[in-house]
Amino acid sequence: MPAPHGGKLIRRVDENKNIDDIEKIKVSRDLAHDLENIAYGVFSPLEGFMCREDFESVLHHMRLANDLPWTIPIVFDFDGNIKEGDEVALVGENGTVAIMNIEEIYSYDKKEYAEKVFRTTDIAHPGVKKLTEMKEKLVGGKITLVKEGKEEFDKYYLKPYETRILFKEKGWRDIVAFQTRNVPHIGHEYVQKTALTFVDGVFINPIIGKKKKGDFKDEVILKAYDALIEHYYLKDRAVLAILKTEMRYAGPREAIFHAIVRKNFGCTHFIVGRDHAGVGNYYGPYDAHEIFNEFPDLGITPIFFKSFFYCKKCGGVVNEKICPHDKEHHVYYSGTAIRKMLMSGEMPPETMMRKEVAEIIMSYDNPFVD
């Protein structure tokens, strides 16, 4: 099992801390998730929200100031009345409470942030849009979690110290992580199972948090995966647990970030598919593969997949490396096409989606984020 990123699994939790006399600041659900991710080591080696030196190093070098790979700024934007040296309590909408020691308050350039992280300043990009809505100052400093939030999917919520014990108990040495924000179709299943053939277990780790309009609702994704695993996976070879963080849609940079997070959970391998964490046409389909060349010191092994498809001539699910037939024989797994079928009440063919998965999705009046 790989050591956590930076060598040590961060744990910054003190449930006995009294916050009665500390100024309280309300924060969003997404920021509350980041607080827990920092406190439980999901974002190791971060111990708090980034101060300027780390923030700028991440923007310009895709590394923390100490040169460790890190590609996504983890920041707290705030413009209220606080000053450096203050101690404040951050209170999330979901009940999360954490203490933050304000080390640094600094300004930043949103245009530069967008260009570096999202490779665009187009307001139509959901990450850029969110960035434009952020406050004008960033606040850096260490945090300590006092109280964990309560949410509806907590039975799927495992922390890295738990997954590491879980994998050890299962006797898994090589673990491949699969990042998702979608319900599974047959192409996803084949990617996971192909990778699983060479390792001991697959860690299916859907992102739960803010997504864009038209994405599947969190509950639908989890129930669909429960059905898939129950009917088509060996129980001892698959673990389903959530990652509470928002999608940034930062494509290649987010692929590296996703890999680091899964390394902290104890995974040795990370699946990177087509247009990982992409949106629209902002990134090339395999940019998220190429970026890994810049991080030979990541400490988790990426496994790259090109798209799987069904070949009528082969009579099975294949990819371009193993199928010799022309495109006319291929049926591609189009998320849009599957979505259309599901919305019109039409059951997708079994070559595209498992019946049990489709039935779960179709049991919802509206399975999509509004």
């Binding site: 050591a3 014990i165 879980l166 108990e169 030979p296 010191d297």
Partner: protein
């Protein structure tokens, strides 16, 4: 790996035998490591991390058992 950060004064020089440096130079060809320093930094970091992990007993037996109990209750362990 990051180049051009030396000016920040956060780096120091460590001497290694020339034959070893030559071996490393060959080893990193085509790997993405663009200097002997970046490779040596990576290897030392990994080594120290694994040693620290072995030294550090993260949980007492009692705490570990509590975690396993939770994993059983959630259906992750039999």
């Amino acid at each position: 790996m990051t180049e051009g950060k030396e000016e920040k004064g956060k780096y120091t020089t460590v001497s290694i035998p020339t034959p070893l440096a030559e071996k490393i130079k060959k080893r990193i060809e085509g790997t993405g490591f663009n200097s002997i320093s970046s490779y040596v930094t990576y290897v030392l970091r990994e080594l120290l991390a694994s040693m620290e992990e072995e030294e550090e007993e993260a949980f007492s037996k009692e705490d570990e058992e509590k975690i396993k109990e939770r994993l059983r209750a959630l259906g992750y362990l039999d």
